[in-house]
């Protein structure tokens, strides 16, 4: 499908030169198609009666119509924008499919009722949640970010320090490795009953669960990274007069960084996985708590809306970690 759409667009396809080529150059056809799809979604929302009324239809139609107008404008402007235009044109097929998707979604839920309330919600239902629940959702995002960042950062800091010690010192490794091998595979959530006992507040217990989930892979990967550093690097360092501290901080640490990042990515995904569970430990706010709370009241539109926020949040954090990795490991480019 996307191939057909790209060929329609003419910019990315390899169509033979015709008398229309001038016109094709002048207009971004995928932009026109996207505008049409988005306009159809807006018209369907406004023009057809609701089987079941949901809020936010007017606003949704307005936003989608604005989108359609923007695409209409872009279809003329994009061919003249040079490289930026090429970047926008690259996503043309996506813009069309999103418009079609919004139209179909609107029709199958609010307009024809094929996908029934309360388990399904039209797109304007989600939009309505964002409008009416904004203050609470913002608070939930803040609580979730606080829990996640405290848990993840403390877990990574402790896990990293432990990993360096385990990888560097034979004695630490002798005592620590068996314990790590025993505790490491236990799912972090299995500790929940004990954490209530050990921690003064449920928040501290939740932070601990997130820290544990993210810290263990970082510990394991850091220790194996430090342990597998080419011995010759240490020989070079010792020969040039380096102290043990220099060998650790300037050789072991940078040399093991590629391993550490594997551990960080694993820890990041584990931390997301336990975050929602941790927020069910009697939290008062937080996205995980909100999902659970709304499920109990069959507020599925709220659940979907929150899931979308979580997806964007998690993907954004993953993206940040990728940026950090690319920056810190750019010396590695020859090996990747």
């Amino acid at each position: 499908m996307s191939n057909a759409l790209e060929t329609l667009g003419g910019r990315t396809g390899t169509s033979p030169p015709t008398s229309l080529s001038g016109l094709r150059q002048a207009v971004w056809r995928n932009g026109l198609l996207a505008a049409a799809a988005w306009a159809a979604a807006a018209l369907a929302t406004i023009g057809l009666p609701d089987v079941v009324p949901w809020g936010g239809a007017q606003l949704f139609a307005g936003i989608v119509a604005a989108g359609a107008t923007i695409f209409l404008a872009l279809s003329v402007v994009v061919p003249r924008l040079g490289r930026l235009g090429d970047r926008i044109a690259h996503y043309g097929p996506w813009f069309i499919v999103i418009g079609v998707w919004l139209a179909l979604w609107e029709l199958t839920t609010a307009k024809f009722g094929w996908l029934p309330k309360p388990f399904f919600s039209p797109p304007n239902g989600l939009l309505n949640v964002y409008v009416t629940e904004a203050p609470r959702l913002v608070l939930c995002i803040a609580y979730t970010l606080r829990l996640w960042s405290l848990g993840f950062l403390s877990g990574v800091a402790v896990g990293y320090a432990l990993g360096v010690a385990l990888g560097w010192s034979k004695r630490v490794s002798y005592w620590g490795m068996p314990i790590l091998k025993l505790i490491g595979p236990v799912p972090a959530t299995a500790w929940i009953p004990c954490t209530f006992y050990f921690f003064p507040t449920t928040f501290a217990a939740s932070v601990f669960i997130v820290a544990l989930a993210s810290g263990i892979p970082v510990t394991i990967l850091t220790s194996s990274g430090v342990g597998s550093v080419n011995r010759a690097y240490y020989d070079v360092g010792r020969n040039l007069g380096a102290s043990d501290w220099y060998l650790i901080s300037r050789i072991a640490v940078p040399a093991s960084l590629p391993h550490v990042f594997v551990g960080l990515f694993m820890g990041l995904y584990y931390s997301f996985a336990v975050l929602v569970v941790a927020e069910m430990l009697g939290a008062k706010f937080g996205l995980g708590w909100y999902i659970q709370f709304q499920t109990a009241y069959s507020g599925y539109a709220n659940v979907y809306a929150t899931l979308l926020i979580m997806a964007l949040l998690c993907a954004g954090i993953v993206r940040l970690l990728f940026l950090a990795r690319d920056r810190l490991l750019n010396w590695q480019k020859g090996f990747i």
Binding site: D235, N239, G241
Partner: protein, 263 residues
């Protein structure tokens, strides 16, 4: 190492060290069994001399260099530099490996600066790093990462990382072994020039007879493992030498027959 801020290019008083090996033997511990690598080596290296160690592959030449560098201690016997026993590694005696072993996470400049940085004198001696990069012709590449360098450039950087510390003894463990033959030829010339300019003592491990005769003032031939000194050849030819010098050709034949490779 005093007055080190002066650029390496300038002629300095020769700084070198005499090395004395007395009854040096060494064993490897291979999971319970002992492998004898060196068998009672006696060797005197005069200050400023360029020694080449030749021998069959796996005979323990590299081990000998590691012992002299102080990275390892011999099982028996003693090694001394200017009469002082060698108890550990020291930046005045630097080992250059067959692999450049540059730190891949650091730029060429930072790699070369490693020794100065590790000893906390980098800030006073930054100019030395630049001067040494000039010396090996890598100034343009100072911001490059090792993976961006060719094999020859990487080995030059490794040499610079050693030379910036002004070593009195340079231990060269087949540093040209993995290079293509053209790069090798040009680096052999540069190595001799550096040695003559800086005046350090050099001990080179190689299994290229021609290379040994082109570079060294004395060639030591070692036996199979456990290595003993089998023969010694004085190479009294002026530098720069030419590989088709008839005396070198004759010496080459002698050395090869000592190694059991008569032609």
């Amino acid at each position: 190492m005093a007055g080190a801020a002066t650029a390496l290019r300038q002629e300095r008083p020769a700084q070198s060290v005499a090395v004395e090996l007395r009854g040096v033997s060494h064993n490897f511990d291979l999971g319970g069994s002992r492998l004898a690598v060196l068998n009672v080596i006696d060797l005197s290296v005069a200050a400023g001399e360029f020694i080449a160690l030749l021998g069959p592959s796996g005979c323990g030449k590299s081990t000998l260099l590691r012992l002299i560098s102080g990275l390892e201690q011999p099982s028996a016997g003693s090694i001394a530099a200017d009469g002082e026993p060698i108890n550990g590694p020291d930046p005045s005696r630097i080992l250059v490996f067959q692999d450049p072993t540059l730190f891949p996470w650091a730029t060429v400049w930072n790699n070369v600066a490693t020794g100065l940085n590790a000893r906390g004198v980098l800030n006073q001696q930054r100019a030395r790093v630049d001067a040494t990069l000039d010396l090996v012709g890598l100034r343009v590449f100072k911001g490059a990462y090792p993976h961006q360098l060719s094999g020859g450039m990487a080995q030059r950087a490794a040499l610079a990382r050693a030379l910036v510390n002004d070593p009195a003894l340079l231990l060269l463990d087949e540093p040209l072994g993995k290079l293509d033959s053209l790069t090798r030829l040009s680096l052999q010339g540069e190595l001799v020039a550096l040695w003559r300019k800086a005046g350090f003592t050099a001990i080179l491990v190689t299994h290229d007879v021609e290379e040994a005769l082109l570079l060294a003032s004395r060639v030591i031939v070692l036996s199979e493992r456990p290595a003993r000194i089998r023969a010694e050849f004085q190479v009294d030819r002026p530098y720069p030498r030419h590989r088709d010098d008839p005396e070198l050709v004759a010496l080459r034949r002698q050395v090869l027959s000592t190694l059991g490779l008569a032609t």
